[in-house]
Assembly symmetry: C2
């Protein structure tokens, strides 16, 4: 009795190829894997037969003998609600795939609520040998997943800054440089009161961006930097903007850590009768279609997310192959200037 209840089709195996070619299955395996040990003629014959009968290796069999799962895992730890509007993951996944599919490696996706669940999923996935390695996103400054990855010796790539203590390679973008470029741009326009609405404080890149912001503001001699922490949501974007705009010395420019909050700010400004960009300039931290969908269209930092995915997959595959890839930096975000930024009111 085979597989599914609908009377599964019998797959061709190397035994069948061996029988047709009149050689041993060992010879077939060598030929198909491009290894020495078979004559060019025999190899040709075997490849032709395999091609003709549409043979493909069974991953299960390859995994069992080769101790490779030929898949990698991506466990996204976020409440399901906040995933919808985030264009990041679909683009990132498309990038991962572009690299993985060429290497005949599958992508196993899991979506969980928090780090505790993510760790459990990691352990299970690894214990069952479903994957050869994992992609770790949304890194926290203190990240409970990392010690687990190290304890289990799971090959993994960190999507974020390298961690000196660990042996895990990282693929990262220069968040600090991007933030500085945005501050410089606003200062060049003449802004002196620039605030920042930051994302989740637990996330490492939030911390990096905030630090870069503070340094840039201080470097320009603009006084004590003003930063509001949020959880990236629409609601907190509204609240933070309201708070900033209610002060007497309200900022003339605000940088937001994503596009959703920047859009929220647009609405708050309108409600409060603050004109954008004339009285308030807005910069969104992540460029997305959303930024061109609202009015005024938002000036934003644009990252090449798909390339990020491609490099991440590449580093992970090298890591799995035991080639100790080392960390890699990918392109810094570029500032896309649209209609939400201009010189401050005089």
């Amino acid at each position: 009795m085979l597989g599914n209840g609908r009377g599964a089709v019998k797959r061709p195996t190397i035994a069948e190829i061996a029988a047709r070619a009149g050689v041993s299955i060992g010879a077939v395996s060598y030929a198909l894997n491009g290894r020495p040990g078979v004559s060019a003629e025999t190899r040709r014959l075997i490849l032709d037969i395999a091609d003709e009968i549409g043979w493909r290796p069974s991953v299960a069999a390859r995994s069992l003998s080769g101790s490779r799962a030929h898949s990698v895992g991506l466990i996204i730890a976020r409440p399901a609600d906040t995933l919808g509007v985030e264009p990041f993951f679909m683009r990132f996944i498309a990038g991962l795939e572009r690299e993985l599919s060429g290497r005949r490696t599958g992508l196993l996706l899991q979506v969980v609520e928090d780090h505790r669940a993510a760790i459990e999923a990691m352990r299970l996935c690894w214990a069952e040998r479903r994957v050869d390695g994992m992609v770790v996103t949304d890194l926290w400054t203190q990240d409970a997943r990392i010690p687990v990855l190290e304890e289990l010796k799971i090959p993994a790539v960190l999507v974020g800054r390298p961690r000196p203590g660990t042996g895990l390679p990282a693929v990262w973008t220069d968040d600090a440089a991007a933030v500085v470029s945005a501050v410089d741009y606003l200062v060049a326009l003449g802004h002196r009161r620039i605030a920042r609405v930051a994302g989740l404080p637990a996330l490492e890149h939030t911390r990096v961006r905030v630090a870069a912001f503070r340094e840039a503001v201080l470097g320009h001699g603009l006084g004590e930097p003003r930063v509001v922490q949020t959880d990236y949501t629409w609601e907190e974007g509204m609240r933070a903007t309201r708070a900033l705009l209610s002060r007497r010395d309200r900022p003339t420019a605000i940088m937001f850590d994503n596009d959703v909050m920047a859009t929220a700010a647009l609405n708050v400004a309108q409600e409060m009768g603050v004109s954008v960009p004339d009285e308030l300039s807005i910069v969104a931290g992540d460029d997305s279609q959303l930024c061109v969908m609202v009015r005024p269209a938002l000036t934003a930092l644009a990252w090449d997310i798909q390339a990020y995915g491609v490099h991440t997959a590449r580093v992970l595959l090298e890591e799995i192959d035991g080639r100790s890839p080392g960390s890699r930096q990918v392109g810094t975000a570029g500032l896309v200037v649209r209609s939400s930024t201009t010189a401050p009111p005089v």
Copy 2:
């Protein structure tokens, strides 16, 4: 030599459990799988040991002997660009997972450009026995993937209306009823000139929705229904809206097939000096956070996408088990009234 280059940890196997318990590996397998053939006492002992050493079955070994991959596939066939803003897939995937993870079934995700690539990916995935079945989304009226699924006898579930010719089960929502409810609502407000900006004509649900729209409009005696076909994008949403609003007898209400185009319409209306909702009511076809992020907030049809995912996974797993689940309908969308709809101008 084992797995990864970093000196893989030796996984525990049933042989180890058997040795510790002093029984055969067969007995261990029976005990772990809850089958008869071992005494309650032995079973207890075996389970305890397995638990203690953290044993988990190797999927590769289980697949090879049991002829089940313990994974299902989702191949998304869309240009990567259009994926970002779509909140559908992340929600849908979260729903799939909720059901799959409880059944110890993995989700293999692929993102490809078109149906040709999707078919190739399906064939490969199946030939390698990476999956036990597949989820098919974004069904076309004439869908080249279906004959391939049938030819290969791949267990699959259609995310869309049942197809009489095929033996494939479907999980669907009543798109027609949802569209009719929206038309009824607009008519009740007093609208007589209602237009529809539809999505990709090749998609089956576009056709179903357009047909329902036409019927509803004719049923209300509102004259020849006006429908503009688009590809779901922002750009075509703008173009379609511009065309509709440029006519002398322009509509007083427009229904859009998604949220992105409805947002585009908001901008076009503003540019053309048409006030929303006073001069133009707008209904978005898919509810999402975007609908509450714009001003005025958009009245929209809200689908329980996560539940859709849960049911889809459930049906697919039944299909894989050979239980011929039959098609299943899930809840119809509800109209969420916000600020973009009101009575037409007198």
